[in-house]
Symmetry: C2
Subunit: 483 residues, 2 copies
């Protein structure tokens, strides 16, 4: 290993030394983002944005496949609209950005930069919906939103972030609830199959639900430092917004009824989840389905063989591109092969293909997996098929590995002493019985910094005693410290 | 024609009666947009947004094919950054929205909601660019921008709009100029081949150039009311921004140099161009390449034959979908066939496929073109190929038709009296000689409301006399009243 390579590796903090610093090192070093001159707002650099585009694509396809259509609503929301739903304004007003002037004129009414779009969308739905024939309304929006955060963290919590927000209106509770759960499952499916991030779907407690919702559902993922991350939420809004925005429809039976609504969102936060579930001390590790670069081809040649190897590498590059692999050819002369290996590992490229003069002689290439570090040789003839198969294997293995990690870091206990010990020593998810009382939930949070991440749909095992108060309970909750 | 159908047609104003009202009727009636509770900001409804998604796709592909990558920069720009380039701030400050408060706190420095992103991007480029090895930087961004407009018009001029803005940095003037012209040609190619909107590429005068640019290029389209529309611009920014943002690089020769920059943008305005170039008194007419629905299949069946026809229609629907046609099957029972025809014509669907019991008997379908109104029958066997071919033909014909219209509405004169008469009586484009003096340009604008749309790259014909002052000139300009 040459001097430059050692320098390269040394530049990021190890997870063990300082996980938080490791995260910041990775996002900068892999060129996912950069800090901007605006407090709390980041720049998403091309490599990070390509990752986001792939995430958008996978999610957008699923959103459309379930019958939703995209639209676009204004960035600004008049103050009076935001004020309409009491819980909603209470939840969001403290963290919004206010526009007070247009050009040199003071506005008659202040405008909020949308922190989420329920209110302005409801205003439109009240105009668009008249009859049961207009229902369901199934609309999604990809956009930027702003929440004035005091403490920020790239991708996880920034004052401006990108997301999609779905907003639907239905005839009754049954249809709204079915939609809410359908979209939660879309998120689960996407997280597991595209991001290789296993998640636990469940319901949020009253304390943790969305401001203005009747019920909030969530998918929760476990990061490699043992903290949980909320990766997507789906809300049954009930008739809450319909009543204040007067969204009514004439039903088949001739009576006027309020619609039932849902909203659901997932954001650039998903990038944070991918980094913290799969990353390691060598940097980022990306699942092939969303990796901007699925494989990098590195020709390795001493001067005298350079031309021959390069020519073959270029042919191979075209061949693999043709086969549909998202591929880079790294033929830069100013860097050593070792330096390149480190850089592409830092960027999380799932597969490295090495091609040297001896490989050419024996008609093969060396394939190195980012997920396991495993090296295999494969014949050049039919390499496209081999690469495609390996990428599938890597995708599956990354999910499997993350699932195993989560299982190994999920504890079950109703003993509060043990609970505290686990939270302090190794964190992870803890499945405990909970009496359902908000007081116990808040006390646990106060005393351990762990919150209820969700109430799973299928409680496992027999009834037990509430972790905090000891009263008999059939309700099981996932607790964890969270981002 | 039944009563409902007549009503349907009557609901939009004719172009001749009131072109401006016709436009507003079409955008609402085709459900492209709706007005929002925020002054000057519109809602893009699903049908309009699907159109925008197709436009984005065609443009994004071309932007990527020419080596650019997408990224994302913050929505907010600190006041001090916007102030840096003198001409730029002068051009934009009067029309920006100001954020003054975050939550309940007053901000230490006011933030501008981006009207365009040169300044914040330059700030990042000054950090990212050090060496000639870092150049060129070729970045594009899809986002929303805000310009506080006093008079707005759906898609053409709204306070918030969606667009892409490319921002590149180069080693020298030659490379920057080549990039500026390359992207102008990308816009031209896209406008003509995807939107079927013929455009005239050329340079803007000093008066009309972008605030802060060295040179601005444009593509100009002619609407069917004889007014011109600027459909995309590409700016050579020179070293203007590099000097104030200190974007320097160490060149191969060891000296520190300023980069040369470009920026270029196209927006939701393109939708306005499509509407006004192709639309008619029956509503919207969309070119197949960007139409959200390329063909609509309408089964026409009396009650007794309904089931048979529907079954065959569904099979045909699957078959055409399979063949890659963006298709809708309109099997709604509550509307008459005639009403449906009108609705899909209003929405600009390029091709209607009618299928009735007699068609089934003779093994054929009736195809009706939106662009010409022409009806043809085609055998059901192999209908996919016929439909695909017709869509191509429609696309080509729409461009051809628009080109013919433009030719018929382009006049050449150096006689100011005739110029004024043409502008008053039938508008259109007027090619005239111009001395190059800003005073003449402004006098013409003042006296006729016509502006110089562009100075074409290949002046046609021999030298003549300036339209306004009569002095000898070899420069030809396209004049028109414009949106």
């Amino acid at each position: 290993m040459g001097r430059r390579e050692k320098e390269f590796v040394r530049e990021i903090t190890s997870q063990e030394a300082d996980y938080s610093q490791w995260y910041l090192d990775v996002v900068l070093k892999a060129q996912l983002m950069d800090y901007s001159p605006v407090k709390g707002c980041m720049v998403i650099r091309p490599y990070g944005f390509a990752l986001w585009e792939n995430i958008q694509q996978g999610l957008d396809r699923r959103i459309k496949d379930t019958g939703h259509k995209n639209a676009y609503f204004p960035l600004f929301i008049p103050e009076s609209l935001l004020q309409k739903e009491a819980e909603h304004v209470e939840g969001f007003a403290p963290e919004v950005a206010w526009v007070t002037h247009g050009g040199s004129e003071k506005l008659a009414e202040r405008l909020v930069v949308r922190p989420t779009s329920e209110t302005i969308i409801c205003e439109m739905y009240s105009r668009w919906i008249q009859s049961w024939r207009d229902l369901p309304v199934l609309i999604n929006q990809w956009c930027n939103v702003v929440r004035w955060e005091k403490v920020t963290r790239p991708f996880l919590r920034t004052s401006e972030f990108l997301w999609q927000e779905g907003h639907t209106a239905h005839r009754n509770e049954e249809e709204a609830e079915a939609e809410t759960l359908l979209m939660l499952d879309v998120y689960r499916d996407f997280a597991e199959n595209d991001l290789a991030v296993p998640v636990i779907p469940g319901r949020k407690t009253e304390n943790e639900k969305f401001a203005g919702a009747l019920r909030t559902y969530t998918i929760e993922a476990l990061m490699s430092d043992g903290k949980a991350l909320q990766a997507g939420t789906s809300h049954n809004l009930g008739e809450h917004f319909a009543r204040v925005f007067d969204i009514t429809y004439l039903d088949k039976d001739g009576t006027l009824k309020y619609v039932w609504q849902t909203s659901w969102g997932a954001s650039t936060r998903l990038i944070g989840a991918v980094i913290m579930v799969h990353g390691d001390d060598r940097g980022l590790a990306l699942p092939p389905k969303i990796a901007p670069v699925q494989a990098v081809l590195v020709p390795i040649a001493p001067k005298q063989a350079r031309e021959t190897v390069l020519r073959r590498a270029q042919a191979l590059f075209s061949e693999l591109k043709e086969a549909g692999v998202r591929l880079e050819l790294d033929d830069r002369e100013e860097y050593s092969a070792g330096w390149k290996f480190n850089e592409w590992e830092m960027k999380g490229v799932p597969l490295r293909i090495e091609l040297g003069p001896r490989d050419l002689e024996s008609g093969q290439a060396v394939l190195v997996r980012r997920d396991t570090g495993e090296k295999v040789t494969a014949p050049l003839a039919g390499l496209g098929g081999k690469v495609a198969a390996l990428l599938l294997e890597i995708q599956a293995n990354m999910l499997e590995k993350a699932r195993r990690f989560r299982e190994e870091n999920t504890s079950c206990t109703d003993d509060y002493g043990e609970f505290k010990r686990i939270i302090e020593e190794r964190r992870g998810l803890i499945v405990s019985h909970w009496c359902g009382d908000s007081e116990c939930e808040l006390a646990v949070k106060e005393e351990t910094k762990a919150t209820i991440r969700c109430l799973p749909f299928r409680p496992e095992g027999p009834p037990g005693r509430c972790l905090r108060c000891g009263s008999q309970s059939g309700t099981v909750a996932y607790f964890a410290r969270a981002y």
